[in-house]
Symmetry: C2
Subunit: 117 residues, 2 copies
């Protein structure tokens, strides 16, 4: 009940907001709302270097907001936090339908276009 304890609770509660308070992470999560996606897919959608995308994914992963599943060379990420889905819906509106990214090499998009170089 001490003030410090209370403050600590609030500090803990800010974690999820801190994750969402970032344009690239928000865009990643919005994309993942459409369905699971591999890194190269997100890389294509964001138009950012692969290392950059991986770093943001690590941040999200370390907080348990997303989980990854390896499949061959590809690593597929998906949202693993229902609360985050609700927060996204509150601020971004309903999730948009799945899509294939142009020039994305992942199996999900492959049938649609050619490899992204």
């Amino acid at each position: 009940m001490p003030v410090v304890k209370r403050f600590d609770e609030y500090r803990k509660a800010t974690a999820v907001f801190r994750l969402l308070a970032h344009p690239a992470r928000l865009q990643i999560l919005d994309e993942l709302r459409r369905g699971e996606a591999c890194v190269c897919h997100l890389q294509t959608v964001l138009g950012r270097p692969q290392a950059y995308v991986s770093q943001q994914l690590r941040v999200l992963r370390e907080d348990g907001v997303v989980v990854d599943a390896k499949d061959g060379l590809n690593v597929y990420y998906r949202i693993a936090d229902a609360r985050v889905l609700r927060l996204l819906e509150e601020v971004l509106g309903p999730a948009k339908p799945a899509r294939r990214a142009p020039a994305c090499p992942c199996p999900h998009c492959a049938e649609h276009d050619v490899c992204c170089k």
Copy 2:
């Protein structure tokens, strides 16, 4: 539809999350959920210097999340953003009932205790 435009939209959407991604502001908003409160009340509840509380309130005010109403020497703040209320409920749970802070001089608390020094 250019990528940059999209990114800008996400950047804008992060604003509300950035406000909530701070323990002191989160605590302020959680207190304001109980009902409007003056600065000295929040000061008492947070156990932080007055200038500190005023600064956080300014941040919230500049984004329109709270509004202030002067009454004599006191300035009463209240939440002015329904979306923020929903976000708080999602993460902090339902708002707690109003309370009077011990040793708070504001009219709201005065009838309950004596002035805070």
